[in-house]
Assembly symmetry: C2
Homo-oligomer: 210 residues x 2
Amino acid sequence: MSEENTPTSKSTDINERHRVRMERKKEIVDDKIQQAQRKAGVIVITTGNGKGKSSSGFGMVIRAMGNDMKVGVVQFIKGAMSTGEEKFLHRFPDEVSIHAMGEGYTWNTQNRERDMEKAEAAWAKSKEYLSDPSIGLVLLDELNIALKYHYLDVHKVIADLQARPPMQHVVITGRGALPELIAVADTVTEMQEVKHAFKSGIGAQAGVEW
Amino acid sequence: MSEENTPTSKSTDINERHRVRMERKKEIVDDKIQQAQRKAGVIVITTGNGKGKSSSGFGMVIRAMGNDMKVGVVQFIKGAMSTGEEKFLHRFPDEVSIHAMGEGYTWNTQNRERDMEKAEAAWAKSKEYLSDPSIGLVLLDELNIALKYHYLDVHKVIADLQARPPMQHVVITGRGALPELIAVADTVTEMQEVKHAFKSGIGAQAGVEW
C-alpha cells in the first residue's frame, strides 16, 4: 500500500479539501453580505400547501421579541381555535398585540357575507398596526386565504402595506398567495408538502398542529 | 335588465354557491379528521433552500410551550450567532433546555475535524433529550447540514430517533435532508425560495434573519 492510500493521509486529504472548499464558500458569502447592506422593512410571504407557513411566521415573532421589538399579530380565518401560539403569546401583553378573528376556517362557517365582514374588521386592525412605527414586526397570519376568496381587495391591501413605516417588517402567511402580492414582497417561500402525517392516519396533535 | 342580472341577486348567488362549496369542503375535511385519529410522536422535517425552516421549528417550539409541554432545542452548526430566538427562549429556563454548538457555519471555521467533534457533542445532548419522556418536543435545528457533511452517521441518528419515547415529537431543520431521514419522517416540507430580499441588496436584519 502506498503512503497516499493509508487511512490517515486519506482523512487528512478530505479535511484539507473541506477546508479549501469552505474557505472559498466563506469568501463568496462574505462578498454577498458586503453587497447586501441596505436596511429596510421587508415583506416576507410564506405560501404553498406544505406544513410550516404559520409556524414560520410565529418563529419570526419570537425572533423579533428576542431583539426587543414590539409585535402585532392578526389572525385571518383561523381564529376560532385557541392555538398553542396564541396561548403562549398571550403571556406577553406588553410585547405582542393579537387580534384573532372570531370564526374558524371558512368551511366551518359557510357564510360568505359574515366572513367578509370579519375579514374587513381584521384588516382595520391590521391597518392600525401598519400605521404604528413602534411596532417592529406585523404578522398577518392566513391573510393569503382572505385574499384568495376575495374577502379583501388586494390592491387596497398592497396600498396599505406600502404606506407602512419604512423600517417595519411584515410577514404574510397562507396558501395561494396572489401574484400581485408576490410582486411587491421582498422574500417569498413556497412550502411544498413532501409527506404529511395526517395521510398516514395520525391526527392533529398538541405542539405540532395546534 | 332581467331580475337575475341585478347586482343583489348576483351577489346572493355567489354567496349561495360559496355556501354549498364550503359545506362540501367541510364534509371532506371532517371525514379526513375522522380517519386520522391515531396519536403518536411524529418526526417533522423542514428542508429546502427557502427561508423559514428554522423559524418554523421555533414556531412549533412556542406552540408546544403554549400546550404546557417541555421542549429541548439543539442547534447544530449555527450556534455562534446569538439569534433572537435564542435570546428569547433563554427567558424560560424551566420550560426550554437549549444546547448551542460553540461555532458558526462551517465556512467560518474551515476545520472539519473540529466541526465533527462539535457535532458529536451536540448529538450526545440530543440523545439526552431523546431519552427523556418529560420532554414533549425536541428541535434539532440544522441537523440536516451536519448529516449532509457526514459529521454524523445518519443510521446512528435514525436508530436514536426511533428509540425515543413514543409520544415525543421531533422537528429537524436544514437544507439537504438525506433520503434515509425523509423515509422515516412523518411530515416533510420542502421550503423553496421564490424570492429573497438579500438578492435585491437588503442585508440580514434583526427580527427577520436573526
